[in-house]
Each structure stands twice: as structure tokens, then as C-alpha cells.
Amino acid sequence: MNKQPLFPERGPAFWLTGLAAAISAGTIGLLFVSLVVESVPVFKSEGVSFLWGTDWFAGEVYGALPMIYGSLMVTGLAVVMVLPFALGSAILTSEFLSGRVRLVVKAAMELLAGVPGILYGLMGIALLAVWVRDLFGLIDGNTLFTAGLLLAVMILPTVMTLAEDALRAVPGETRDTALSLGLTRMETVMQVVVPQALPGLAGAVFLGLGRAMGETIAVMLVIGGIDRIPQPWFDLFASGQNIPSKIGREAAEALGFDLQWSALIALGLVLFVMVMTLTTAGHFLLRKAR
């Protein structure tokens, strides 16, 4: 048998698709490199205190910790809040609903997943912030908690529909075998189907996490916009700031200029690294789960 060449066929299709792939990969690479290059000035000027500093005042001092804290907090909150509902409804849809109803639910969820963030933002500022304030007896509803809740609502359709796909991907024979061995329906789902679908379920959650972490406009409208870590730090009913919202609020003013621009780019870099770390960790866990 001949050794297979690395690229077996080099027709026009190869070059065209190769070009497309190279452009895609190159874009990400270029993005990362330019993020690093443009954020050098702020690291030079602020040093590591850029990452640990708790004070950010354009033109004076740039400390990113409140934004990093806010991003982690609202994303974490969103995942905690979305998990039971997304997994529950995914299991119901995949395992207990009849074919037709299932298709309707799926279609509705996929439609919802495509709703632009600004619409959630508007609902958030008009209704959610007020509800949170009244429900918890707060003096104001623009809080980290509100942002986390809004993000949970936003990523619910994405996580649910992806989780459902993962559950459906478990072969029918597995269920039949489990049932024929005398397991109840519930045992089959919880002890056979879900464990098998675990990598896919984790993938669904991580994709949702990615969307939540990068979501800008909806969060911007309800988080309060103040660059401060609450006292005490676990006070979720205080206002805060996350990275995308901070960049969204200051970018137009600083575009391409000065230390402030560099600081915003560095914030972007931090966000990029955070999302990448999560995704990589996700893949690592997935491989282990298999």
C-alpha cells in the first residue's frame, strides 16, 4: 500500500477551501496578536496592578479587577441558575415527549436562541430590574444578580437545545437494553442516558457560558455600570461591572488613542484568555469523561 500523501488531491476545490480555512484561522491568530500588541502600553505603565488593581478612572489609573470579578460572578450565577432548568427541560423533551411535541419545543427553543441580546436587555431594564428590586426588597434593581438572571434566561434556549441534542445522540438500543434489564424509566435516564451524554451536556453548558461571558448590551443595561467590587465581595445584590459592558461604555471615546484604549484592549485580552481557558478546560474534561 502506498503511503497516503498529506493532501491527497490538489484540485481547485482544495485551494479554495484551503484559502477559506487559512483566512479563518489567520483571523483568530491576528486577533490574538493584535490584542497582545495593543495592550502592551498599559501593562508597561500599570504592570501587574492592571490585573489586581481595584480602581479604574480613565486618564488616571487602570485596575481591571472589578470587571474581571463582575464577569466571573455574573457568568457563574447564570450557569448555576440555568443548569436545573436547561437540563430538566432537555431531559423531558428528549426522553418523555412524543415526536411531534418534541419538534415543536425544539423549534421554539432554536428560535428563542436567536433573539438578539438587545431585546433581552430592554426586557431586563423595563421588567426584570424592577421585579428583582421589589421581590428582594432592594433599594435598586440594577445589580450583579439581575445581570446573572438575565444571562441565565438568555442562554437557556441555547443550553437546552444543545443538551437535548446530546441526549438524543445516545443510541436507542442503550435505552432498550437498560429497560429490558428491569430499570425504571427514571433510572434509565439518570443512570444510563445522562452519563453517556455527559460530554455533550458539558459542551452545551460551555457554549452557553461562552455566550454569557461575551454578552454586552443586555448586561450593560442592568448591571449598574459601576467599576467596584461589592462590600462584602459576595453581595450579589450590589451594582457592578463586567468586561464587555466596560468596553462597550468606554470604547467609542477612546478609539485608537492613549493608555485608555490600550487598557480596554487589555480587558478584551483578559476576556479572550478567560473564554479560551474555559473552553480548553471544557474539552479536557470532556476527554476525561469519555
Partner: protein
């Protein structure tokens, strides 16, 4: 797997279209060239205080000048000045003066100010606070609220509720003017703040939504739910009214500025001239601001708000 004929056709057609699109976009001057001789586009952006005037004026101006297209965007005074400084906009809107720092930063753009109206920044509160008894505050009281020394409305004669102090993004014109008045420093800090907002709309909405908020807002944006309170000076209370601004009694007044890079020219000049005309000045009044009596251009003198 070999592609079937119709699929192949679709792939080829899309590739040709894509290549065509890339070619048209990359060609120097491509795309816009068709319109270049006919339509002039004026790009305007910045202060959300000045924006209503310019939107109204742009509508009328475009009705008369079919070949001019005016694109108006928000963003805040800092964005307007920055945008003109970097030549991304033709006209920047600013509800404050150009700071010394901005002046140096964009020195090569020779920023030029044209004043088109007058306005004032009022200290505003949620209507519930106003009806709860807070009709006026002294400068020192407002200062203490923004510093976090006064945290309950009870301390200034209002209802027993914590104060929601609303600050604005640092580059905003309204904040510059308000902080200059309170602390004598346009970029003073406000450690007592709980929320930070951006545009006038956003600030207005958040104050209206709350029953215990305080904020800073252009007087044209005051309404039933967001009430402008008086400034107490000894025994005197000065209300934020257009009259008091006109006569110079109300202490937090400001110019509404258009910023251009150098002397305005061509269609930009025509549009600015229109804004300064009688009809244009009517749009200023219509937006709730004070028209200026004598149109005049002031070139930047390190703004009084830039210490």
C-alpha cells in the same frame, strides 16, 4: 463523493458572486464612487444633549438639500470630540468645552467650536423624593451626597430611604459641567455613587424607575417623574428654569457646541449656518434649550472646565 449538477452550479454561482463582491469592495473608491458626485454625507455624533437639536435640524435641512445626507449618532461629548479629532466625524456634538488634554491630543485637527445654544444642568431627583419634601438642596448637600457622606434622604428633609446616587460615564459633558460646579474639577470622583449611566435617556429612565434616586440632567430632559430641584444658596433658592439660565442666575449653565476640525467648509458649513439661522435657532428652542442671540464662532480657548 462527486457533487451533483445543481449543487455544483449553486457552488460556482456563489463563488463568482463572492469574488465579485470582494472585487467591488476592494477596488479603490469602489461602492461609494457612484454617488460621489451627487451626494455629500455629513457624519455627526456625540452629546445626547445636543443631539435632539441636530436631528430636528437635519430633517429640515435634508428636505431642502436633496443631495446632502446627514447621519446623526449618539455617544456622548467625549465621543464627539474624539471622533472629530480623529477625523471620523465631520461634526462633533459637545455639551461641554474641550478639555486642555483633548486640545493637546488633537492639536493637529485644529478643533473649532461653534456655539448653537445654551443649556443648564439641573440636579434631578425621583418624583417620589420631590413629593416627599426635598424641593431644594445646597451645593454642600449635593457634594456630600456624591461623596457618600449623606446616604439617606431623611438627612436632607426627605423620606426615610437610602439615596441611590447616579453618576455618569466620565467623558460625558453633563458630568464635566456638574462636577466642575460641585467640586471645581470636571473629572472629580464620586465615591458615593451606586449606578453609572451613559446617555440622557438612560439616566432619565433609571431615575424615573427608582423612587429614591438623584442625578444630573440637562434641563430640557426634566419631566414629571424626573424633577429638577432648586439650588439653595443661603436663604435663596434658584430653580432650574430657562428664565434663570437666560438671566445667568442659575449657576450650572453651559454652551451647546458643535466641534469641527478647522473652519467648517462646504456642506458642513451650510448645515452649521442653517443651525445658526432663525429657522435653525427655532429647532434649538423646540428642543427645550435657549437659542443664542448673536451667532458667533469662538475658537478654542482652553475651556474653563478643564483645570
Amino acid at each position: 463523493m462527486p457533487l451533483t449538477y445543481p449543487v455544483k452550479a449553486v457552488v460556482i454561482i456563489s463563488l463568482v458572486l463572492l469574488a465579485g463582491a470582494v472585487f467591488v469592495t476592494l477596488r479603490p473608491g469602489g461602492g461609494t464612487q457612484v454617488f460621489a458626485e451627487e451626494t455629500t454625507v455629513i457624519r455627526v455624533a456625540g452629546s445626547t444633549t445636543v443631539l435632539p437639536i441636530v436631528s430636528r435640524a437635519a430633517e429640515r435641512f435634508q428636505a431642502r438639500h436633496a443631495l446632502v445626507k446627514i447621519i446623526v449618532n449618539a455617544g456622548g461629548s467625549g465621543v464627539g470630540i474624539h471622533g472629530v479629532g480623529t477625523r471620523r466625524f465631520d461634526i462633533g456634538l459637545a455639551s461641554r468645552e474641550i478639555t486642555l488634554k483633548e486640545k493637546h491630543r488633537y492639536a493637529s485637527s485644529h478643533l473649532q467650536i461653534t456655539v448653537i445654544g445654551r443649556d443648564a444642568v439641573a440636579c434631578v431627583v425621583s418624583s417620589e423624593v420631590f413629593h416627599g419634601g426635598v424641593r431644594a438642596l445646597s451645593k454642600q448637600q449635593i457634594r456630600d451626597i456624591y461623596l457618600g457622606n449623606i446616604t439617606n434622604w431623611r438627612q436632607v428633609g426627605g423620606p426615610d430611604r437610602p439615596i441611590i446616587v447616579i453618576d455618569k460615564e466620565v467623558h460625558r459633558g453633563t458630568r464635566h459641567v456638574f462636577m466642575q460646579y460641585l467640586f471645581g474639577k470636571s473629572n472629580a470622583r464620586a465615591p458615593g455613587a451606586r449606578l453609572v449611566t451613559g446617555s440622557n435617556n438612560e439616566e432619565q429612565a433609571k431615575i424615573a424607575q427608582s423612587d429614591s434616586a438623584i442625578g444630573m440632567l440637562s434641563i430640557a430632559w426634566i419631566n414629571d417623574e424626573v424633577v429638577g430641584i432648586g439650588i439653595r444658596d443661603g436663604e435663596r433658592v434658584i430653580q432650574p428654569t430657562l428664565d434663570n439660565v437666560r438671566t445667568g442666575r442659575f449657576p450650572i449653565a453651559r454652551n451647546l457646541n458643535l466641534i469641527t476640525a478647522g473652519e467648517p467648509q462646504g456642506a458642513v458649513k451650510q448645515f452649521i449656518d442653517y443651525l445658526l439661522s432663525e429657522d435653525g435657532q427655532k429647532r434649538v428652542a423646540e428642543s427645550g434649550y435657549i437659542p443664542i442671540q448673536l451667532p458667533h464662532t469662538v475658537s478654542w480657548v482652553a475651556g474653563s472646565h478643564s483645570k
